[in-house]
């Protein structure tokens, strides 16, 4: 307010100077005239008067001159603002409805933009993010051997080769493709170890980003040297939350999976790593410590294991296109020189792709995951805003028609058309800004809710819901645009106000009903609402089918416990004994009906795939022709516990021991793909080449179950007994499944105690219901479904409010006409029908226009739908029905009021 005041004063001073100048000019004129008259012989007393007479009305002249100054424009602007505010205060009902409507529309858009800005537009908080380029463009995760669709994952040896021989990059760092959980506790601390999300990075990782330490030091290239001490850098948030911000942790020792690690520093608060993701890394280790910490699961020293992302800083002036060809040749040459060409065929090597992608926003994981959903939601929220605009335009229109007399009088009194239009637009902008301010508040609350919806199950989301400067500017821009858009029609109406109307007399009894622009706006609203409702229906139906599909397992009453088992160095016999004890003790927990162990569980995001050979089936030596299957290793009672049904043969059970015949249970897909009908039981297969073809005997067939991708058919899959599967450390369990009585009770503490009592090296990462584990796979679909449904509802409500407003207004305008009709004997029913037509006609037209648009919109999103066609007749029919019924309901109240008009009262009111 203060600043406003001083600005006002400055402009006021300027204005006064201008005024003084006009005075001076006119005074000079009058004095000169008087002097001349005196010289021509007039008496001095008479000359002054004569000069004034010749001049005319001085005050009027000053007024006229002043009106030419630009400051008059500013002054009239403030007059308009004051007038507008007065108008808004005068009709609090209208103002409240309009501001609320706008707040919903602008808030919906601002909330989505907050996410778009945070996820898609904001660069990493590091030095010169625009110079960063990722070597590769795929989001392939984990570790891989052999052909990659598009080269993205590097082995450590290949990374070092590329780092040394690509001068176009000033620096290239490497990082494990995803963080993993390790159990961490402070040395000397007797409490339970805590799961930490750990990330292995190259020594130059922090240097690449230009990130220094907040305390201690960051990792340096020397930390990557073989034989270097095992060190770690803590993330700021983990330091605050896990260690209470205790500064003495720097230089202290942590016990990570039974290995001592020295903490050398803490990263700055803003740094969350190279990838924007929910639950980013808590702790960073140099790659050199990977063999020490990962032991049997280490990838570092296997040149043919591809598990690292490479991200680098291009030298200034070098385009990524220039480097791509060079890099590709370099990588191909390296692969070709490997024995067995790193499992590449010459053909695959020839076709190998490599694309550099900008990493200014980090490795584009979240971006790729959410870009489509966010863009779709932005379109949806823009629709809501348009409907809100149409609503306000209609309200303003109704008001300006009611004020037509007043406007006509003003025009008759000489107000210019531009001034009248400016008045309307100023009022519109005022409304829009009020609505925008309320919308920003709404968006803040909304964004927090959306984040929780979008990242269900995440413990930490590195995205701020509070509006940043770009978000505020966006909201301001949208508000201004909105204000101009919904003011256009009313402004046009008042610019055509005819002064003569004011003379035609007030209160003409027969006036036309709603105007053409009003009807057009209703049609627009109905059209947009239908498109939105169909979109919402499709998204909701698709999500419902996705979540309630037949997965091939039961989620009801199941608990999933993820474990970080630190069993390195355990002899096979000890592992078998441990599993036996564990299963027995878990089954003894009160309420637990059945317990099993496995390498991984369905829909937790894991998959283990291998090439296999089948006994008696000749396979070519060529890798491209070999068979493959997803595999899992499971304990006895696994299938019963997760509710996967047996089709033929038997489940894996207690008979399967390390000493007995190695057996396998396969799913129906496996049988369909590799055996003629009825011929699978008793057959043999193995992991790897033909020499292993007799390793496992198929003893059972289970129904297909989805393990990783809920949208595609279940993978071909084979299950091995946990105690028999030595390949790839598949005998180490990571998951516990529990079937519990009644609803899944909170057994977390009990489970933790049981695990600790069996072996202290078992750290529980998380315990969740199976249902929740499955649901977390559909966060994006849920977000889109819930938000489009919410926005669809908003659109419907806004459209109905608009319809109600116009219908009510029409009744009010035509009161005396209806009175006459009733007096002349029109039945009440025909009056209701007449008034309903006012609302139903534009909605029907809207439906006719909207239906093809909705079909086109459905086609545009068809690729994202699951189990529902874009032209689903039920969805389309429901949307039409809902819109039709709601519009009738909205119009019925005013229509009934019309029918109950008392004719004598209506006519007396004339």
């Amino acid at each position: 307010m203060r600043r406003w005041g001083s600005w006002w004063k400055a402009s006021w001073n300027w204005r006064r100077r201008e005024e003084e100048e006009i005075d001076k000019e006119l005074r000079a004129h009058l004095e000169l005239e008087a002097e001349e008259l005196e010289e021509s012989g007039l008496a001095a007393s008479e000359a002054g008067y004569a000069a004034r007479r010749a001049f005319g009305n001085t005050t009027l002249v000053k007024e006229d001159v002043r009106a030419i100054s630009p400051w008059t424009w500013v002054e009239s602007f403030f007059q308009d603002v004051r007038y507008g505010l007065r108008q808004l205060r005068k009709s609090p009902g209208f103002t409240t409805v309009a501001v609320l409507t706008l707040a919903l529309g602008i808030g919906a858009n601002t909330a989505i933009f907050t996410l778009i800005h945070a996820i898609l537009l904001k660069p990493l908080p590091v030095a010169h993010p625009e110079e960063l380029y990722n070597l590769g463009d795929d989001q392939e995760c984990c570790s891989i051997s052999g052909d990659q669709d598009s080269f993205t994952l590097f082995s450590y040896a290949l990374y070092k080769e590329v780092r040394e021989h690509t001068p176009e990059y000033s620096e290239i760092a490497a990082v494990r493709s995803h963080p993993l959980t390790l159990s961490v506790r402070r040395s000397g601390d007797q409490g339970l170890a805590q799961p930490f999300l750990a990330q292995f990075v190259s020594g130059n990782y922090f240097t690449l980003f230009g990130v220094g330490a907040c305390a201690g030091r960051v990792l340096v290239p020397a930390d990557e040297a073989p034989g270097a001490a095992t060190v770690a850098v803590l993330c700021y948030r983990a330091w605050r939350t896990r260690f209470g911000g205790d500064a003495s942790i720097v230089g202290g020792t942590l016990i990570v999976d039974r290995q001592p690690v020295t903490v050398v520093g803490i990263a700055p608060p803003s740094f969350i790593g190279e990838t924007l993701r929910s639950d980013p890394a808590d702790i960073w280790f140099p790659l050199a410590s990977e063999p020490t910490l990962m032991r049997i699961n280490s990838h570092l020293n296997n040149p043919d294991n591809f598990w690292l992302y490479a991200i680098g800083r291009l030298r200034p002036g070098i385009s990524p296109g220039q480097v791509e060809a060079h890099l590709k040749a370099e990588i191909k040459q390296w692969l070709a020189a490997r024995p067995d060409m790193s499992e590449y065929t010459p053909d695959e090597l020839e076709k190998m792709k490599l694309t550099l992608t900008s990493a200014s926003g980090g490795i584009m994981k979240l971006q790729v995951d959410y870009a489509e959903a966010l863009e779709f939601l932005l379109v949806v929220s823009a629709f809501v805003l348009l409907i809100a605009c149409a609503n306000i335009a209609n309200l303003l229109l109704a008001r300006s028609t009611a004020n037509r007399m007043q406007i006509a009088v003003r025009a008759a009194l000489g107000a210019s058309r531009t001034r009248l239009v400016r008045q309307v637009v100023t009022e519109g902008l005022l409304l829009a800004l009020l609505g925008g301010a309320a919308g920003v508040v709404l968006a803040f609350v909304g964004t927090r809710a959306i984040l929780l919806l979008a990242f269900r199950g995440a413990e930490f989301i590195p995205i701020e819901a509070s509006p940043s400067m770009p978000v505020l500017l966006f909201a301001l821009g949208v508000s201004m645009l909105t204000g101009v858009i919904f003011s256009i029609v009313p402004a046009w109406m008042s610019s055509h106000a005819r002064p003569v109307e004011s003379l035609r007399g007030a209160g003409r009894s027969i006036t036309e009903g709603s105007t053409l622009p009003q009807k057009a706006l209703l049609v627009l609203q109905a059209t947009l609402s239908l498109v939105l409702l169909v979109g919402a229906g499709l998204a909701t139906e698709s999500f419902r089918r996705l979540e309630n599909q037949k997965f091939g397992f039961e989620t009801q009453g199941r608990l999933m416990v993820q474990v970080e088992p630190d069993l390195a160095g355990y002899a096979p016999a000890r592992i078998v004994a441990l599993y036996g004890a564990l299963q027995e003790r878990l089954a003894q927990i009160p309420g637990v009906l059945s317990a099993s162990l496995s390498k991984y569980s369905p829909m937790e995001g894991s998959n283990w795939g291998e090439r296999i050979s089948i006994a008696g089936q000749p396979g070519k030596q060529d890798w491209a022709d070999t068979r493959s299957s997803s595999l899992n290793s499971v304990s006895a009672h696994y299938f019963e516990t997760i509710g996967t049904r047996l089709v033929r043969g038997r489940f894996i059970d207690e008979r399967d021991t390390p000493a007995s015949q190695r057996v396998a249970v396969v799913n129906e897909g496996f049988v369909r793909k590799y055996f003629p009908p009825g011929d699978a039981l008793g057959q043999h297969f193995g992991i790897g080449d033909k020499s292993h073809a007799n390793d496992y005997e198929i003893v059972g067939i289970v129904e297909d179950a989805k393990y990783i991708d809920a949208r595609s058919p279940a993978y071909v899959m084979a299950f091995l007994p946990l105690v028999q599967a030595w390949e790839d450390n598949a005998n180490i369990f990571h998951d516990i499944q529990l079937l519990v009585a009644g609803s899944a009770r909170n057994l977390q503490a009990e489970i933790q105690r049981t695990l600790a009592s069996v072996d202290p090296n078992l750290t529980v990462i998380r315990t969740i219901s199976f249902e929740e584990q499955v649901r977390r796979n559909f966060n994006e679909d849920r977000l889109v479904a819930r938000l489009t449904a919410l926005y669809g509802m908003l659109a419907l409500i806004l459209a109905c409010v608009g319809l109600y407003g116009v219908a009510a207004y029409t009744v009010a305008r035509r009161t005396s006409e209806i009175g006459i009709r009733i007096a002349l004997g029109a039945p009440r029913g025909s009056i209701v029908r007449m008034m309903l037509r006012v609302a139903v006609a534009p909605v029907t037209l809207g439906l006719v226009i909207g239906l093809p648009l909705a079909l086109a919109g459905g086609r545009a999103i068809a690729s994202g739908l699951y189990g529902v066609k874009s032209y689903d007749p039920v969805v389309l029919g429901t949307a039409v029905l809902v819109l039709g019924v709601s519009s009738v309901v909205a119009a019925v109240i005013p229509a009934r009021r019309a029918a109950s008009i008392d004719p004598s009262g209506a006519l007396r009111a004339e």
Binding site: I22, K24, A28, L32, G56, N57, P70
Partner: protein
């Protein structure tokens, strides 16, 4: 012959025309119009000033405060700009067209 009020819209043209002879102040412009029209055209002095300010806003004339040579007083001197010169030519030709047309209509009587 009596005095005639200046037709609406022609005042601008007369002012521009007057300034063609050089920069001068409002009083002198009024006097000049009166004098050159043989006292037929009567300019109400006051109406001159809104016109001057309007022309200045449009950029056809420019102004400057200067001391008059013969009097010990400051006046606001107006002068024609290049845009004003163009505007004058356009208005003049339009005026001639209209005047000629009216004259032709009247002479047919």
């Amino acid at each position: 012959m009596g005095r005639v009020e200046i037709l609406q819209g022609t005042l601008d043209m007369l002012i521009l025309r007057t300034l063609l002879f050089g920069a001068t102040h409002g009083h002198a412009i009024a006097k000049h119009i009166q004098r050159t029209s043989d006292e037929v055209l009567q300019v109400e002095h006051g109406s001159l000033y809104p016109a001057l300010h309007r022309l200045e806003r449009k950029g056809w004339i420019a102004s400057k405060w200067e001391k008059a040579k013969d009097r010990n007083r400051e006046f606001k001197y107006y002068r024609l700009t290049a845009a004003g010169r163009k505007q004058l030519a356009a208005q003049e030709s339009k005026w001639k067209q209209i005047a000629g047309a009216i004259a032709r209509v009247m002479s047919r009587a």
